[in-house]
Symmetry: D2
Amino acid sequence: MARRSALLLMAARRGAADLQADLDRRKPGSNRFTTARREADQVRILSGVFEGVTTGTPIALLIENSDQRSQDYGDIKDLFRPGHADYTYEHKYGIRDYRGGGRSSARETAMRVAAAGIAKKFLAQQGISIRAGLSQMGSVIAEQWDWQQVNQNPFFSVDGNAVAAMEELIRELKKAGDSVGAKVRVEAHGLPVGLGEPVFDRLDADIAKALMSINAVKAVAIGDGFAVVNQRGSEHRDELTPSGFLSNHSGGVLGGLSTAQPLLADIALKPTSSIGVSGQTIDRFGQPQAIVTKGRHDPCVGIRAVPIAEAMVALVVIDHYLRHRAQCGDVTQITPNIEQR
Amino acid sequence: MARRSALLLMAARRGAADLQADLDRRKPGSNRFTTARREADQVRILSGVFEGVTTGTPIALLIENSDQRSQDYGDIKDLFRPGHADYTYEHKYGIRDYRGGGRSSARETAMRVAAAGIAKKFLAQQGISIRAGLSQMGSVIAEQWDWQQVNQNPFFSVDGNAVAAMEELIRELKKAGDSVGAKVRVEAHGLPVGLGEPVFDRLDADIAKALMSINAVKAVAIGDGFAVVNQRGSEHRDELTPSGFLSNHSGGVLGGLSTAQPLLADIALKPTSSIGVSGQTIDRFGQPQAIVTKGRHDPCVGIRAVPIAEAMVALVVIDHYLRHRAQCGDVTQITPNIEQR
Amino acid sequence: MARRSALLLMAARRGAADLQADLDRRKPGSNRFTTARREADQVRILSGVFEGVTTGTPIALLIENSDQRSQDYGDIKDLFRPGHADYTYEHKYGIRDYRGGGRSSARETAMRVAAAGIAKKFLAQQGISIRAGLSQMGSVIAEQWDWQQVNQNPFFSVDGNAVAAMEELIRELKKAGDSVGAKVRVEAHGLPVGLGEPVFDRLDADIAKALMSINAVKAVAIGDGFAVVNQRGSEHRDELTPSGFLSNHSGGVLGGLSTAQPLLADIALKPTSSIGVSGQTIDRFGQPQAIVTKGRHDPCVGIRAVPIAEAMVALVVIDHYLRHRAQCGDVTQITPNIEQR
Amino acid sequence: MARRSALLLMAARRGAADLQADLDRRKPGSNRFTTARREADQVRILSGVFEGVTTGTPIALLIENSDQRSQDYGDIKDLFRPGHADYTYEHKYGIRDYRGGGRSSARETAMRVAAAGIAKKFLAQQGISIRAGLSQMGSVIAEQWDWQQVNQNPFFSVDGNAVAAMEELIRELKKAGDSVGAKVRVEAHGLPVGLGEPVFDRLDADIAKALMSINAVKAVAIGDGFAVVNQRGSEHRDELTPSGFLSNHSGGVLGGLSTAQPLLADIALKPTSSIGVSGQTIDRFGQPQAIVTKGRHDPCVGIRAVPIAEAMVALVVIDHYLRHRAQCGDVTQITPNIEQR
């Protein structure tokens, strides 16, 4: 007969409740600085879990849309909102579901967060943890990083001292009916050496795809990112000593594989395009129109992107963890790994 | 009976010769500013082409390694070169092919360029073209862009006026035995509206993965990239008029789908880690060692990345072109698209 | 702007109701010859359909389990039922959901039927239809085929004259607490020439996988199937004339691609192993046990397999239809196809 | 540091030579009962192996076509050979490579055999072996099975006593210019419990796809195959006792997962359609033509299918072995498995 590790069994006992914590971080209406739409974001586990334990068969999760006011969208059903997917969906499919909550809505990311809740539990058992925080909102930059701060403020800011300025910025934006972009840092700690594939599914490439797939993300950087353009090789290469790497410019990936150093990624999120400032657009009939979005939208979607970024990295890491076990499960360590900084 | 479009038939007539042009741009030894290794990079078409025309069945290409001097690598076979995949490969697989030309070598990208040669021919028939150029090398920035310049200088620089400074920088680096990073812009023009998928395989996400999978790339930006962090929604959103979009901050992608505007991407390439400056490392036995790489390597791998970046974008675009035809081949246009800027 | 074909729009209007018809054919309790379990099998469309039309984005369907009496399964929770997946699931995953309705239950196929309802609507618009019928139940063979009969009798028998003997057989089996196997024929009509791929995803290979994936299926034959073993080449090869093929021994596939003749497949379904006849087994602790399954089970699962077989063929054909359009959407017919028999 | 098991290292030492043995069994011209075409079928390992050991990175193999006489095919370039893929390829792609050695040629299977040579080495280390044999050729049935006979006769017949009748049959067919079908049994021994997936990639479904993808295969059966139609549940279900299963009607798969009993599959191969008997066909212009194939072809392609069937099963099993390790690598056995018959 067979059994799974006791750790996994216990870890899974709490079921859906475990997945809810991150969902609550992502959901709108959880603080006064994001959209006023209230969505219960209550996840149900439909299959794949029995008596609090995953059964190995596919897990289906369901989050129902609860607070979707169709009337909020009626007046934009023939308009292509600038900066939105209205125009591209209409042309690709010849039809468009103009209500909120569809595929092009950030609402879709709720399920990524829920699914990643399962991944995070498994990864935690392997000693792998994921964390993310807001490092910049518009011109307000997090200068002094303290990861303890992230869950202590409504912006998930890594700098508690920046919170006041962020509050002020949000107030200003709400008044102006405008929005602003943001920068988010996401990290994975505790990875073993060697996750990833050499060519087709490099770990950094999969991280880039996963993060770029989040609504509003326009750039992804690993390690030093664009700063490498102006670095010398003698500065960038992370030298090794018997007690570990001397730096982490690479962000924890070499040749598409994890180095066991922290995996470091930064993403840029554009300002939401659903704003109260009038703009030019056209309607489905090609006629020019002015548009002002009246719905309840975030002045800075980057805030809620923090748990989503964590989720996407968790999903990529667990995939590669399992793939690595598939191919290299019989590669045994003959000397201890070096210490990692 | 059936036939393919005459255009495709004619376009394919030249066979392997057509694929060689881009390979020659990528290959080392093609100018004195890149590595002195000489590789013939001669591509053979093994299958899938008959009488100069693709047959629809899989196309196999082969490029043999010709100038690989194993002795150049013998003294690093027990060392983990900092900034290289030596350390990660050794730990993942329990074995490492220390010779050049393996999976972790930029040599692997030759085949990407060859394969993309086929994709580019097909895309050209659909009015889609891809171009790339070097926009920065270390501190030397291309200020005045002129795409005509790209193939007129050995750096594929988009600014002919920056060439002298780049030459000077390379000379300095060679003298110092050091290397430097670079920034490359890649663009696709002529895309129809709607290429991409709404969630799992967004066009921008696939572009990010493809570009991040190129050796040495550490960051990918679409459109305004990291600059969006400090933009307002009223500034970023690309307004529409009956005569087209008024701007292209989005870089040609909205909601994961192409807008038919130019697709714009930037990538950062790290400085090569194979340099003549001594550095600290460890060997396979965990002992500290000093390392100086003596092989023939590029002072700036970003130069040769230009045709590779073009190749990766071409491969992503052709995949999405075909996928779009699969799903939406029966969506008919009832009014003309707006003009694109 | 763009629009889909009016046909598709109209065809999709009825929404979930359209998918229900086949579900009702598959569901238990729909006639007195299958299991007495009653399952509503009511399908809900959760996403991807708007105002009765598919939007192009993913379609999510949900069928909730309604009549699952856990107490029916309590006494088998520590037993491995012979002929069931209990033993294999327990060993693979180290845990097993012993209640009905799980992954190893035929219940899982309800969703295949629902999903295929959408595929069939699309295929019908292309002139492609799928049909299936029971051709043998135990020793009762359908001798005189009449496809009009299939939906006129509770066994989906293609021979109305065999119905009385089938009724008699089911009665006898119920009395004995035993079960029997069956043979099902499934056909696709109206396929264009060329669906399929030459090596990796041959149409016949994908049909084989899809049909073998149905619970209880133990064999799949295309065209003449095992009868080809004793045929001569001069007999088997389907000769061509300007007015069409002279025979269809191949079952509509040559070289992995559809010939445009009817696609013909036969499957064998084993007798259900949940029977009232006592048998030997072991429990989770390795101890010998006698087992009699008391749940409400089908004496012949082959009956309900008829709509499932249709569903699986529909799903394979639509996939290949779209893939073919992706790759060969620009291959134009220059002379008319020959007539097909 | 890390290392692979010594066993794998040693096993891999012989490199390409190890892959050649099965290739030689498959290749034409190896005995006087198959086609007279001589193909060297010499495999070269292009990448992924270093100092006789797999490196973990992709392995590329190359077998060049050496004895392809284009003139043999010139007179059929405008004809659609009945029973061949000529007609379907021409219509799918609008073009057809009429020479031998293309995608629709059995020649393509040489590479499957070569690739499976690597899989078999790995599987052997896990105690898993694959074997196949001819169980019927036309009306000549292997009555007395003896697996020792398979490599002792030119037909891979499992019955040495049937060899004389098979020789006679081949002689007769050659004289008549005709061909005949065959039946092949393939088995995998030593599988652990639990290989496979519950719904999408069931082990039996993947085996069915893999075997049906072999040229000329028209039917695949697992375990008792079509005989289950006339079995009772009380007969078919394989009862369990503490000392093992009492029978193997299921052929080693329950619920899509391996039971650890021998995996048993049978396939039917059609008679080759390239025969010397004149038949009706049409040409590319729709005109009626008579056809007699003059090339050197096998009177019974089923013979050479024996190593190919082994190869396909080996490839499916290794995939599932690695997938199982990925998902269930941490499921530990707490009591010994029962003995298997």
